[in-house]
């Protein structure tokens, strides 16, 4: 059964359409830096291993990890805007996914912190830990960092996936269950491959730029060709992973605009692949207009795909959101009607007919501090019985205008507002309760005296 929760009855701070438009570029900007962070971490570790055969790859790996310092911080800070928007647009769905995978979601913070700290260790010990067992320790740090960076996107994607599947929520007992619904893994592969491709192209510009320090063992031309080749082959693989991701979405939720956006992105991707091939075959390469055309095409592809994903999200949740809206409005009306009837004096309070009994008043009011034998917040009933067993009116008097006798308790607030009748009833009840076993008769004896 699909849970249809009530949404929060507060208006959105921006029109929904604006949020829908803003969320795509905000998300892409964040993802760009996430791609650069994850891609740099993975490529650096891979090249370090390649460096055991050929030293020049070790140098390349070191130049790659140096970029992570800025990119990872930008990824975090630019993640706030899309998180803000997604929480506003899909409140019941997104938070449902978060809470259902709660332990994993909470683990994100320590995991990302660990990943970043390991990345710093990895980067700043490169020159120091460079031989023998120190080098092995360095690679182990790299592997641990890579492991963190492999896990973090999986947790995020499991949430992004789960929020689109309200009909599966009732089956989800935690993070591992959430991996078994929808298409987390094709998405994940698609994302990881994109990270590598985007990072490779970025490194082309970064390491190939004018005035960049040369990577030992590579001339600029060769390095750029190597990175172009990497971008090319990973993007080719995306043409297999992409359709897999598309085909594992719910086909009845795929509409024309989603398909148009995605196929448009694929078309741009094909043009980019062609230009990459041309660049790979040339004899000289520079970071010039040709590079920027390729980069723009990759950006265009990402924008189209992001737009396509947003359209899919909208269509996948269309029905659920409209049911949620209906339920929210319905409950709002009920809320209002109840308030009106309360104002008219026919409400929940009516269930108490007649004056409250001593027992009711005691349980609701006095029982918060006084109990039969406990002495934590106020004297126990057994003690009150000893003091006032023959004079219940003393209790009434005290309750109306309490003094302060005992240092260990804070002063009792006045109970005058309960009224004489209720106080008298409660006093009798207290004596009855405070009497030792077999004592209640004593209280009854005391009553006629009054």
């Amino acid at each position: 059964m699909t849970p249809v929760p009530r949404d929060l009855p507060l208006p959105l701070p921006l029109p929904e359409e604006w949020l829908g438009i803003l969320i795509v570029p905000a998300l892409l900007l964040h993802l760009l830096f996430v791609n650069l962070t994850v891609g740099a971490a993975l490529l650096s570790v891979a090249y370090e291993f390649a460096g055991f055969r050929d030293r020049k790859y070790d140098r390349l790996a070191q130049s790659i990890i140096e970029t992570i310092t800025v990119n990872k911080s930008m990824a975090v800070v630019l993640g706030i805007a899309p998180l803000l928007m997604i929480s506003l647009l899909y409140t019941p769905q997104f938070y449902a996914a978060n809470t259902l995978t709660g332990h994993a979601w909470a683990a994100l913070i320590p995991l990302i912190t660990a990943a970043f700290l390991l990345a710093y260790v990895y980067k700043y010990t490169w020159d120091k830990w460079n031989v023998g067992c120190l080098k092995r320790r360095h690679t182990r740090v790299g592997l641990m960092m890579a492991l963190c960076f492999f896990t973090i996107p999986l947790i995020f994607l499991s949430n992004i996936n789960l929020m689109l599947l309200p009909d599966k929520w009732s089956e989800i007992g935690g993070f591992f269950d959430s991996l078994q619904v929808g298409n987390v893994f094709p998405r994940y592969l698609h994302f990881m491959a994109a990270s590598v491709a985007v990072t490779a192209l970025f490194l082309c510009a970064w390491l190939g730029r004018k005035g960049a320090a040369e990577v030992e063992g590579f001339d600029r031309n060769n390095l750029m060709r190597h990175l172009y080749k990497l971008t090319f082959s990973v993007t080719c693989a995306q043409f297999a992973i992409g359709p897999l991701t598309l085909l594992t979405l719910r086909s009845n939720r795929l509409n024309l605009r989603t398909m148009a956006a995605i196929l448009g992105g694929a078309a741009l991707g094909i043009v980019m692949l062609y230009l990459l091939r041309v660049e790979i075959r040339r004899t000289q390469r520079f970071v010039d207009a040709r590079f920027w055309v390729i980069a723009a095409l990759l950006g265009g592809t990402a924008l189209q795909m992001g737009q396509g994903r947003h359209f899919y999200r909208e269509s996948a949740l269309e029905e659920h959101r409209s049911r949620v809206r209906e339920r929210t409005v319905e409950f709002g009306a009920l809320e209002l009607a109840t308030q009106m009837s309360l104002k008219a004096g026919r409400g929940a309070g009516e269930s108490l007919t007649g004056p409250p009994s001593g027992k009711t008043v005691f349980l609701q009011v006095c029982g918060s501090c006084h109990s039969r034998t406990g002495m934590v917040y106020a004297p126990a009933l057994t003690e009150i019985y000893q003091l006032h067993k023959d004079h219940p009116e003393d209790i009434v008097k005290w309750a109306k205008n309490p003094g302060k006798k005992r240092a260990q308790y804070s002063p009792m607030p006045s109970m005058d507002h309960l009224g004489e009748e209720a106080l008298r009833a409660v006093a009798l009840y207290m004596l009855e309760q405070g009497a030792p076993p077999g004592g209640p008769q004593a209280t009854e004896k005391a009553m006629p005296k009054r």
Binding site: L8, T69, V76, Y95, I112
Partner: protein, 461 residues
Amino acid sequence: MDFPIFHLDWLGNRMLIAITAIIHVLINHPMAVGAYPLLTLFEWIGWKRRDAQWDGMTHRMVFIVFVITTTLGALTGVGIWFTTSIVAPFAIASLLRVFFWQWFTEWLVFVSEVVLIMAYYLTWRKLSAGRGKPWHMVLGVALSIFSWLTMALIVAILGFMMNSGAWGETKGFLDAVFNPLYIPQLAFRTAFAMTTSGLFIWFCIPFVTREQPELRTAAVKLAARWTLSWLPLCLASAIWYWQAVPAAMRINADVGVMTQAFSKWYSMFGQILALTVLVILATAALGAWRPRLVPRYWLVIPFLLAAWLLGHFERVREFIRKPYVIAGYMYSNGVRVSELPVLQRDGMLPYATYASVRKVTPENKFEAGREMFRLACSRCHTTSGVNSVVDNFRRMYGDEPWDAEQMSGFLFGMHMTRTYMPPFPGNSQEAEALALYLKSLQPGAKANGWKVAARQVGGAQ
């Protein structure tokens, strides 16, 4: 609340947020807010003296602060949001809708701060020669301003969120600034950040001045003097804050138990403050005068004391806020004030989308009680551990078998006598079910039940 429930027993859900928040504040205040101005001062002194060794030392200290603030510091900040998302999604989601533009502004300042941190650390070498240095120090000053601004803004937003009176009727953001606690609080946080940053930098100095004893002594003297010169302001602003609190609390603290808890908080704040200031004063004076007499690891003690003071200081927000999570609008268990009559009339379960039980019946009473606990109590209470319901009832009823009827009666009236508790958001069947569940948690309750069952079996024979 109409979200699936994530419940972390023993540690408690609030504790998850609290731990993240305390780590964040302990990094943010001494390092992000306090250390960058101090390090900019260090940089300026090194530049004035044309002392390359001093500059190198400052650079290494910036590195330490940079590493910590851009990892654990930044992520625990985001972490407050992440943990709140799973513990109190109703609250964070409502706050995001209401205070969107404030958060958005805060985000812009935050982005600027991060860019400045990166620029300050990464351009150190490039801008260290000749004419570059003054520009680099301008970056340091800008960074110090933006770090402070981030804190000043977020404290205003927090103050605004807690301000009683519906936000619709208030003039908005300015209310926070004119909130009686805001200015003293900001003054205290600022002075606290500066005072403790001296201690933190002092702690770092030995690590970055190996085999440079003279440099070390001079640097420690500077850090100690920095702490010493901010300490009077720290004390004065703390006293200012301490005196402003009772007025702000008067609305909430009118009932016995609350007064008791608050006066305990109040007198303890004074004691911790006196102790902390004295220890810091002694340490910093010795550091400014005879730095070698202070062992390095002694510095952990004033720092921990300062952390304790700050942790205690933060608790007052808990007092002011309760029983609401958004003043006058939503209780801390996610129940909105305006939906309360519906829930009290019809019950909470019929409207709880994610509950496994819709209506209390004799068969499902225990299960319904457990669901009620998750829905109505579990945001603040655990069953065993931090702020456990069991401990609270033991304190009230002792170790005799608890009376379920008395307990369900108590549930209905608790908000009148314990004003920090929200009213019970359900009907009487639900209160009875909850009482049945709570009673079952009493230590030894199962054993009692078993005895009763055994006796019944015995009787049947």
